[in-house]
């Protein structure tokens, strides 16, 4: 019994440590995601220090006063998704096998992100969410087809390390691009318009908090895309895991940004082409074995 309690405490400590690392990295991720594109365009942005200060204010307010129930649920879901998708294992590798393998399922994680987005902006068109759901389902199907019997992204990474050059990498890359083109998370402006229209989070601070939470969903989405884009970097141990996390995040946000810049998300046929390519690769890999 004592050993069991000890292991529970150790797992909780490991999870807390991972959460701390993610919270430390979150302002950097926000900076990379929102400020760096503006900087590249040539606008003046506030420095990274400012981001840290804003996040400090957010957490202080949250922990002191608490959030309303629905915002609290959204924030808890976002943190949990980030924990699962980060695939870190700092001290105990076996914890990551639970979080990374049994929970980091693309459909589960993507579904949570979509539900959070739908909860934040209910008025957004259902068609976009439906398309995104379909692409997520197909992604899951193709990954399972290409790698039967593996669980989660950790299983994908293990399989890729065991047999490099399989069709799995190509499948997940095509799926990642297709997902990036069908993103249906509400952007900043849409969220602000919706909040003004409904007048629901009454105060200004509540609206700011909700903006930050939805921003976390965007980070989670970019991380999901990055995990699918570079599955080899998922679940590395120790400090390498943090580097892998940042690299995957940068890859995913580049994918999202390029999808938005090129305006490719209006072309449904391109998405269909990518999905068909992924399916072909998965089937080819399956029949080649």
């Amino acid at each position: 019994m004592a050993a069991f309690l000890l292991s529970v405490v150790r797992v909780l400590l490991e999870l807390g440590l991972q959460l701390g690392v993610i919270l430390l990295l979150l302002p950097v991720m926000f900076w990379l995601k929102e400020d760096v594109p503006a900087l590249l365009v040539g606008r003046a942005v506030s420095p990274l220090r400012e981001r840290y200060a804003r996040f400090g204010t957010f957490w202080r307010l949250t922990l002191r006063h608490g959030l309303p129930a629905d915002d609290g649920l959204m924030l808890a879901l976002a943190l949990l998704v980030l924990l699962c998708l980060a695939g870190l294992s700092l001290v105990m590798p076996e914890t990551s096998s639970v979080m990374g393998a049994w929970l980091a399922d693309p459909l589960l994680m993507g579904g949570i992100l979509l539900v959070g987005a739908f909860w934040a902006v209910p008025g957004l068109s259902r068609g976009a969410h439906g398309r995104c759901c379909l692409v997520l389902c197909l992604t899951e199907c193709f990954i399972v087809l290409a790698a039967p019997g593996v669980t989660g992204l950790q299983g994908v990474q293990r399989l890729l390390l065991a047999s490099p050059g399989s069709s799995l990498a190509g499948t997940s890359l095509c799926c990642a691009v297709a997902l990036a083109l069908t993103t249906s998370l509400p952007d900043r402006q849409a969220l602000a318009d919706d909040m003004v229209m409904r007048g629901y989070p009454a105060g200004r601070s509540a609206r700011d908090q909700r903006q930050v939470i939805v921003g976390m969903y965007h980070v989670g989405w970019a991380l999901l895309l990055g995990d699918l884009l570079l599955p080899v970097l998922f679940g590395l141990e120790g400090l390498g895991g943090i580097v892998g996390l940042v690299v995957r995040f940068v890859g995913g946000s580049l994918l999202v940004a390029s999808g938005r810049l090129t305006g490719m998300n209006r072309h449904g046929r391109f998405v269909a082409l990518l999905l068909g390519l992924a399916g072909l690769m998965a089937l080819a890999g399956r029949f080649a074995v």
């Binding site: 609290g72 924030l75 808890a76 949990l80 589960l108 199907c141 019997g149």
Partner: protein, 442 residues
């Protein structure tokens, strides 16, 4: 595999739960000692009789002839007479009586789909038709699973086209009916291919689906469980069904593409079902007291584990029941640790959300009219005064009135039964005669 009869027992348990908890039946039972509006009382009686007849049909399932007659009676009783089309329903049921394990199951399926579609928003009638279809069509699903799945899709499409379209939601209501049919097909195909994991996963999804649907009928607020939002059981049904179908496609020959399509179809049906839930029950889901939401959350946490244990026990893996408390297995060897997810989520949620400081509008909120409890709605209709010792005379008068209303309702009930439509009486007698002749000839 000792599989078939326990599955029937599970269906019977769902029916018994429905019989004990359904709102209309509760109205009927309470109407025995106090006065309720006659229309609702009669409907409750019809529902109760229909459920009993359906249970009888499920227990008599080896005798196909008697069963097809009972199915007709049950569907007529549940749907108030309009849910059963004798003109083509009787020949279809005779087909089932002749070939219960062959393609005659398609006839039964068509009848049940039609009845479920005509039932409209009456959840109990739909669920009873679905249970009858699953329990009685299982013989056909075991022999011809591909016919079962494709026939289910085609017949649902046909019934959808031919049925009335009061609104768009009525089309999405078929999602809830087709998904268990597909899951049963996946179970049988996996059993034929010898994939025990797939059988277990798909059976788990099917049981969870039926449990959630019956809970949603019994307690309308529990329709929240059917939403395909990820930590909720509705998503678990879709996810496990998807993985069971994918396990089929990734490890058997010839089912690669069909398994993939089935998986996507099951998940898509879950999403369509979510649209129905959002469309018709979004408002009463969140209005109301917080304590009820806590119950819903507990149900959402506990139901998948419970159904998983039952499914593991049914397929002979009962020894590994403890595993269901921290992970749910999909049908292809993949796992999802959803109970752990719930635990961490609740922990974080409690930490992050605001402490309860006696939120007045939450605690003192009266029961909304969204709480369609049946018994609570009844208070508006109360006609009789509560019993007071004011003398025997008043009691006698009340007794007389009750007896009169009882007699009236019995005549109404008789007039509601197929007696109202002479042609259906004729067809029923015809069916019974044919079946008797068939039984004698054997």
């Amino acid at each position: 595999m000792p599989f078939h009869d326990p599955f029937m027992a599970c269906l019977l348990v769902v029916l018994v739960a429905l019989l004990c908890g359904e709102g209309e039946v509760r109205v009927f039972v309470s109407g025995l000692w106090r006065s309720v509006p006659l229309v609702r009382w009669r409907r409750g009686g019809c529902h109760m009789a229909g459920m009993v007849v359906a249970m009888l049909a499920l227990t008599l399932s080896p005798h196909a002839g008697a069963v097809s007659c009972l199915v007709a009676i049950a569907l007529i009783l549940m749907g108030g007479g309009a849910a059963f089309q004798p003109v083509w329903g009787i020949p279809a049921l005779i087909g089932y009586g002749l070939l219960p394990d062959g393609l005659g199951g398609l006839g039964l399926m068509a009848v049940c789909f039609w009845a479920a579609g005509r039932a409209g928003s009456d959840g109990a009638a739909r669920l009873v038709a679905l249970l009858l279809m699953l329990g009685l069509g299982r013989g056909m699903a075991a022999l011809h699973p591909l016919w079962w799945v494709s026939g289910g899709a085609v017949l649902a499409g046909l019934c959808m086209m031919a049925g009335p379209w009061p609104d768009r939601l009525s089309l999405y209501r078929y999602c809830r009916l087709v998904r268990p049919v597909f899951l049963l097909g996946v179970i049988e195909v996996s059993r034929q291919q010898g994939m025990l994991l797939g059988v277990e996963g798909a059976l788990f999804a099917l049981l969870l689906d039926l449990a959630c649907q019956s809970l949603a009928v019994i307690w309308p607020r529990a329709a929240l469980l059917l939403l395909p939002a990820p930590p909720l059981p509705g998503f678990v049904v879709g996810w496990v069904g998807l993985h069971a179908a994918l396990g089929l496609s990734s490890s058997t020959e010839g089912w690669t593409v069909v398994g993939c399509l089935l998986g996507v179809a099951i998940m898509g049906l879950s999403c369509g079902d979510g649209l129905v839930v959002l469309g018709e029950a979004a408002l009463p889901l969140w209005a109301g007291r917080r304590r009820l939401l806590v119950w819903v959350l507990l149900l959402a946490m506990g139901l998948p584990s419970g159904c998983g244990i039952v499914a593991g026990w049914l397929t002979g893996h009962g020894a590994a029941w403890a595993g269901w408390f921290y992970r749910l297995s999909g049908g292809d060897g993949s796992m999802v640790a959803l109970p752990i997810f719930w635990a961490i989520l609740l922990l974080l949620w409690c930490c992050l959300s605001r402490r309860e400081r006696g939120d007045v509008q939450d605690v003192d909120l009266p029961l909304e009219d969204g709480e369609r409890n049946g018994l609570d709605v009844l208070h508006d209709y109360m006609q009789a005064q509560p019993v007071r010792p004011r003398g025997v005379r008043r009691l006698l008068m009340r007794g007389q009135r009750q007896a009169r209303s009882l007699r009236l309702s019995v005549t109404e009930l008789l007039s509601l039964a197929p007696v109202q439509e002479p042609e259906s009486v004729f067809w029923l007698v015809f069916l019974g005669g044919v079946l008797v002749v068939m039984g004698l000839a054997q």
